[in-house]
């Protein structure tokens, strides 16, 4: 594969990253693996002793696990929707960030469903989902939706990778044989002929179009697991779009965070520019406002209508002695903070935008917890139970261990992937004789007055 000047530049910059697995990387890998090991031990306990080792009981039948499930499927929207939409709109500045976005999608779509499996009492019977599927059940919809979505996003990521694999194959990298061979296999004989280029272009376009409705279906179906029940706080018609919006929003946040980390770690400032942070910040701000609007609308109607059951849940969420402070945090850090940070020109810097994203992502996790637990703690009939764990949910160390193991898995996969493929796609540069970095900055300066 012939590389043009810009491609060569990007490639040279990232070459050492995929050629070696440095001491630091090993350190992190072992650290993540240790976390995962603790998670495996927790899982062993849960399978061996039954779900009584978790904080879940007959009233609160779901807890941290389901919150994590929604959370991970949510952040997977980074690649699906953000990169899908930017691709369709042919936004040029997307090119350096699509790989990160699509990696987030694929990795979190692997991790998310693990959490729903952790909620399942009989892992030995999972094949029943395919032996006796019932189409009426939102869980069955979910199985098919997530399955399709995962395949779709994997193809989307792979399509964008084929050209790069061909580059790695032909670059005589200083890497072990098996890795060479793997690149060769994965490049599936791509030589950059016009017909090959055309095929990839068409399939990528098709996938970009398909991945967006698929993603919307996935999170809608997920929200319907709650929306279809007759529970206060869940039985809401806006749950579908509300979840979809929250998902895109948190996906953007995680994308910004990942960009920030990579930019620092591999000194990619000239590719992941300030402009990317600001533009994604704008997207985040708009999504944050929309998400805030949905949140306001949802809780206002429940509170104003003050139906008996809804009021009980609302009371728990608003009461500072119960979940009030968490709810406040979820809204301040999850809605106000990102909007303000991006809206005020002084704070519109990569570091602060990344920091705001960090808080926003945590706030959205808290929000998912607040959707699930208070409702389950408020059944329609009085609980009247003296066993405290049946009245109030509090997660056990097993659940926390598995939560952190999931996050560690996310980081581990990311580390491994970034050692296997370049974070900035190489082949994307200069298909047309358009350089991304300098002219883009010029454009940016024109539009914003200054870089900072």
């Amino acid at each position: 594969m012939e590389l043009n000047k810009y491609q060569q530049e990007v490639f040279d910059k990232q070459r050492p990253v995929i050629e070696s697995y440095g001491k630091k990387t090993w350190g992190w890998t072992i650290f993540f693996l240790l976390w995962i090991l603790v998670g495996w031990y927790a899982l062993y306990l849960q399978v061996d002793r039954g779900h009584s080792v978790t904080g879940m009981r007959d009233n609160v039948v779901w807890g941290l696990y389901i919150a994590n499930f929604i959370f991970f499927i949510g952040i997977s929207y980074a690649g699906a929707v953000i990169s899908g939409i930017l691709h369709i709109l042919k936004v040029e500045w997307r090119k350096p960030i699509i790989r990160i976005a699509e990696m987030i999608t694929v990795i979190s779509t692997i991790i998310g469903p693990i959490y729903i499996l952790l909620c399942v009492g009989r892992l030995d019977r999972l094949h029943h989902l395919f032996l006796y599927p019932r189409l009426q059940s939102p869980i069955t919809w979910d199985v098919f939706a997530i399955g399709t979505y995962f395949s779709g996003s994997l193809i989307f990521l792979y399509l964008a990778l084929i050209k790069d694999f061909a580059i790695y194959r032909d670059a005589r990298l200083n890497i072990p044989k098996w890795k060479q061979k793997l690149y060769k296999v994965l490049a599936i004989g791509y030589r950059g002929t016009p017909s090959q280029k055309r095929h990839i272009r068409i399939s990528t376009n098709l996938m970009a179009i398909m991945i967006i409705p698929l993603a919307i279906v996935v999170h809608s179906v997920l929200s319907w697991i709650f929306g279809m029940t007759l529970r206060p706080g869940w039985h809401s018609t806006i749950f579908g779009p509300y979840f979809v919006l929250a998902a895109i929003y948190s996906g953007t946040g995680v994308l910004i965070m990942a960009m920030w980390v990579y930019r620092r770690m591999y000194k990619l400032d000239s590719y992941l520019t300030d402009k990317h942070f600001v533009y994604l910040g704008y997207i985040m701000m708009v999504l944050g406002a929309a998400y805030g609007y949905f949140t306001f609308s949802e809780y206002l109607t429940d509170w104003f209508g003050s139906e008996k059951w809804n009021s009980e849940v609302i009371e728990k969420i608003f009461n500072p002695a119960k979940y009030g402070w968490w709810f406040l945090f979820a809204n301040v850090a999850g809605i106000l903070l990102p909007i303000l940070v991006v809206a005020i020109p002084k704070t519109r810097t990569p570091n602060l935008i990344a920091l705001a994203s960090f808080f926003m992502v945590i706030a959205l996790w808290v929000k998912r917890y607040l959707i699930i637990v208070p409702t389950l703690e408020t059944p329609l009939l009085p609980v009247q139970d003296t066993r405290i764990e049946y009245v109030k949910y509090s997660a056990t160390w097993v659940e926390w261990a598995l939560t952190f193991a999931g996050i560690a898995t996310f980081f581990l996969f990311f580390t491994l992937m970034s050692k296997f493929v370049t974070i900035i796609p190489i082949s994307e540069f200069g298909d047309k004789e358009k350089q991304l970095v300098q002219p883009a900055e010029k454009e940016f300066v024109l539009a914003n007055g200054s870089l900072k």
Partner: protein, 328 residues
């Protein structure tokens, strides 16, 4: 040595028993299917000789007097257990004016289903509908809804609605996702968070949705209206155990319900006593009707004062609140 002999002897006899029942069940299956419409299944005549297949492969003939009818032995196939008892529409009426929270129903249920003390398929709640309203005892089983939210959401058809109105669970198929528990608005379902403790002979029973035994870890269970007893024309243990005749169980098609002491017309009863269904507005169409707690036979304290402390604790808030209101 003797001990050992005894054990082998016993286990052989047990095997024969099991085999015999299996044989009898197969032989009478056809007739049973026809006779269950009348509601009085035939008892096995005890003087008959029964042919059995011995463990050595020989056919032996033994007196059926040696055969015990074993409780909890499912007499129908799993497929039949999914269809239900032909011609029946089971229904329950709960007379709230008679309940004094004696909790005999709860213990009878736990005993029959081999459930531990903490697991209550049938619970008695203390309900108080509004601030000034007088509290009343409210026994609650599964409502076996005609529009069951739990059945709708099950991804593997482990919980199902039968033609006789019952909602049962196949705990061999349940994957334990607990979606049905989240979907049930009445908190009826319970989950086996641990390996359930059961006697050995119960654990070795062939599982069947009609008996719900043996219980399995990681699966959901709930009140099943005891269809295995209904097949024999028996009332559920909760109905039989109640000292005040609170529960009426019966068949909507026959239009009769019985609390063990009296058998009355179902339609007449719910008409005369202004029966209602709990949370009718949810649209779940329960098969359990409640007779309002009017003209009560017992003051509400009768069900509270003698309770063990652990259970008393459950109702403390409401009882104290009520006492406060009465003082003023």
């Amino acid at each position: 040595m003797k001990e050992e002999e005894k054990i082998t002897d016993k286990s052989r006899r047990d095997f024969l028993k099991t085999a015999a029942i299996a044989t009898v069940a197969t032989a009478t299956c056809g007739s049973l299917a026809c006779s269950c419409g009348s509601g009085s299944p035939k008892k096995i005549a005890i003087t008959d000789k029964v042919k059995l297949l011995s463990p050595d492969g020989e056919i032996v003939e033994i007196d059926s007097a040696y055969l015990n009818h074993q409780e909890h032995m499912a007499i129908v196939s799993k497929l039949e257990a999914r269809q239900g008892i032909a011609g029946k529409r089971f229904v329950m009426v709960v007379d709230l004016s008679r309940c004094k929270n004696a909790r005999k129903c709860v213990t009878a249920c736990q005993k029959w289903h081999y459930r531990p003390e903490e697991t209550e398929w049938l619970t008695v709640k203390l309900m108080k509908d509004s601030d000034k309203a007088a509290p009343y005892w409210f026994p609650k089983q599964c409502f076996h809804c005609d529009n069951p939210p739990c059945v709708k959401v099950c991804p593997v058809d482990a919980t199902f609605k039968r033609q006789d109105g019952l909602v049962l669970i196949d705990n061999e198929r349940c994957i334990g996702c607990k979606f049905c528990m989240a979907a049930c608005p009445y908190s009826t379902r319970v989950f086996n968070w641990d390996e359930p403790e059961q006697p050995f002979d119960i654990m070795s029973l062939a599982p069947n949705p009609e008996t719900g035994l043996p219980a399995k870890v990681g699966t959901v269970e709930k009140c099943d209206f005891c269809p295995d007893r209904a097949r024999e024309g028996l009332l559920p243990p909760c109905v039989e155990a109640c000292p005040n005749g609170v529960f009426y169980f019966g068949d909507e098609n026959e239009d009769t319900v019985s609390n063990g002491d009296e058998t009355v017309s179902f339609s007449q009863l719910i008409k005369d006593r202004a029966a209602y269904r709990f949370m009718e507005d949810l649209g779940t169409k329960p098969r359990v009707y409640y007779l309002p707690p009017k003209d009560r036979q017992f003051p509400v304290e009768r069900g509270y004062d003698d309770l063990p402390d652990k259970i008393k604790e459950r109702f403390k808030d409401i009882m104290e609140e009520t006492k406060e209101v009465e003082k003023h």
